[in-house]
Symmetry: C2
Subunit: 327 residues, 2 copies
């Protein structure tokens, strides 16, 4: 099942069910007005939404089916109560440290690292990305995220997987030149993480078939910058902490409530031939190889496209395709 | 105007208008079902809510008025899209550093420090506080918070004040023994900040009269631990960054959307005779005076009460009055 949210005058948009091939969609006001409303009562809502989805995919008789148009979308959750992003590809974290000549603590291989992001103002998949200054070091971060139902405090790895209800792609926009100063203050990111963007649709795990395995998504993420292939790292490779382990981590002292969005962190593979899912990583590799970074961060007008294809080359989530603009 | 949320089977509770003396209340389903709904359309909603509030305070004819009972409340916003907490009393931050023999950077006096907290699962004012282990170092943090309407990116200090629509008290529960390990990882708090609690009512700034001045609240916050007065620091004293300055900070690279909750950080005064609004600060003062901390962190069964009174001794927000329990 694939779900999406139309932009409307209402802040949470309108929930729509989208056909597997991303060609057609239908609103479901009789089931749930918004994706958050569906997640708030998922056990009861999911079968009803699946009925609509099955009929839509079978080409059955449904009223008010319309052509799916990504330009009319908000993020699947236009705003959320909880957006927590991991750094599950520890290879990436190790590279960051290596590039600045610092050792990474051994515990980073066993204890996940997460930060909490802004969730009151998400960007839709085709929204412009407003940034006040190019001097901030504008960068993308290509990631996977899951959406959970209610996860109680102290959920174990074994119990965590069943709480994953939907998956999306993420561009966790980052302002690299604001990060060192902000992290030096000791409380983590805030200004250095502007609004985050999500893929056109969120999909249930069964849509991924065998590619969804052990709470990891075994497919490459394709990243283009200005129509040039930037990287194609595999989200299922080198993920030190799977999503179930991340859920265990975030519920050590808290409940995670329905609609929690949990990100993987920038996808990063040891196989450097696959490229990167952020400019910072490529710059670190350049630093290590050439003694200095070469690839610049993004400028106003630059475009970033993030997408994932199934084995037959069909887009699973639709593309995040955005342009950076002056705020 | 004083607003509150009754706990109901719905996750966002039911918005109620409460009388100034906190004795009576009335639901307003014809105006707005929830506080978030009111905040989403505040300009249109506020006058309607004020009409009800004025009638309630005048003892006028209103249907279905009931006795206000704090035991039936959720937090004013039972969940929110954005909870960002400052460290506006830099005296407190300086003390933390001094107690561990570290220098505080000079920029801490000019550049606010904030972290983003969990907002999907707030505690009501009388809810038990579930913690997995006493070994986590259970502590309170007495604070003030404001709730804003939509604040656009790059809002200046001068323009920020008018976005403050409501104020509340906060207990920003903290797990002190998890903090050093978590901050050492560099991404700020997550596990060390369990669910946050808020006062019974949120009030509009005009309810505070002259005590609300220059985006600061000039009243003492009264903190009791197990019925013993723990501290009575004045929220209007030694606040290095007023709420307008904090709003300017949090909108440098983002919009803050309606219903953003922005906290002051633990209230802390240079006048040590006023006591502290968290145990960690008292322990730091003990460390500096006696060479070691003396006051223990909280145990299961301990109670914490946080309240603020007006000049005539009337409770403004009602009391946060909670008991720590094993999760």
């Amino acid at each position: 099942m694939k779900l999406s949210s139309l932009r409307t005058p209402l802040r949470d948009g309108q929930l729509i069910v989208v056909s597997r091939d991303l060609s057609r969609a239908v609103a479901v006001p009789a089931v749930a007005p918004t994706l958050q409303a569906a997640l708030d009562d998922w056990e009861r809502m999911e079968p009803k939404l699946r009925e609509v989805s099955d009929a839509l995919n079978a080409g059955g008789k449904l009223d008010n089916v319309f052509a799916f148009d990504v330009s009319k979308l908000a993020a699947p959750l236009p705003r959320a109560y909880h957006w927590v992003d991991g750094s599950a590809y520890v290879n990436h974290v190790e590279l960051v440290r290596k590039a600045r000549g610092a050792q990474m603590p051994e515990t980073f291989w066993t204890d996940p690292l997460v930060y909490q992001g802004g969730s009151d103002d998400f960007l839709g998949p085709c929204d412009d990305v407003p940034v006040p200054s190019e001097e901030f070091g504008i960068d993308l971060e290509g990631e996977i995220a899951v959406i959970t139902d209610d996860v109680p405090m102290r959920t174990t790895h074994d119990a965590a997987g069943s709480h994953i209800k939907l998956l999306m792609l993420v561009n966790d926009w980052s302002l690299r030149n604001l990060i060192p100063g902000e992290l030096a203050k000791g409380f983590g990111f805030y200004q250095s993480k502007p609004a985050t963007a999500f893929s056109p649709v969120a999909v249930t795990p069964d849509e991924l078939g065998a590619a969804w395995s052990h709470s990891t998504l075994q497919r490459p993420l394709t990243v283009h910058v200005n129509d040039e292939l930037f990287g194609r790292p595999n989200a299922g490779m080198d993920m030190t902490f799977d999503f179930a382990r991340l859920i265990e981590h975030i519920t050590k002292t808290r409940n995670a409530r329905a609609g929690t969005i949990l990100g993987s962190g920038t996808i990063s593979n040891y196989d450097r031939s696959l490229g990167s899912a952020c400019i910072a990583e490529r710059r670190m590799l350049e630093q290590l190889e050439h003694g200095k970074p070469i690839t610049p961060f993004l400028k106003f007008g630059d475009r970033v496209r993030i997408e994932m294809f199934d084995e037959e080359g069909r887009s699973i989530f639709g593309a995040i395709d955005q342009r950076v603009v002056r705020a």
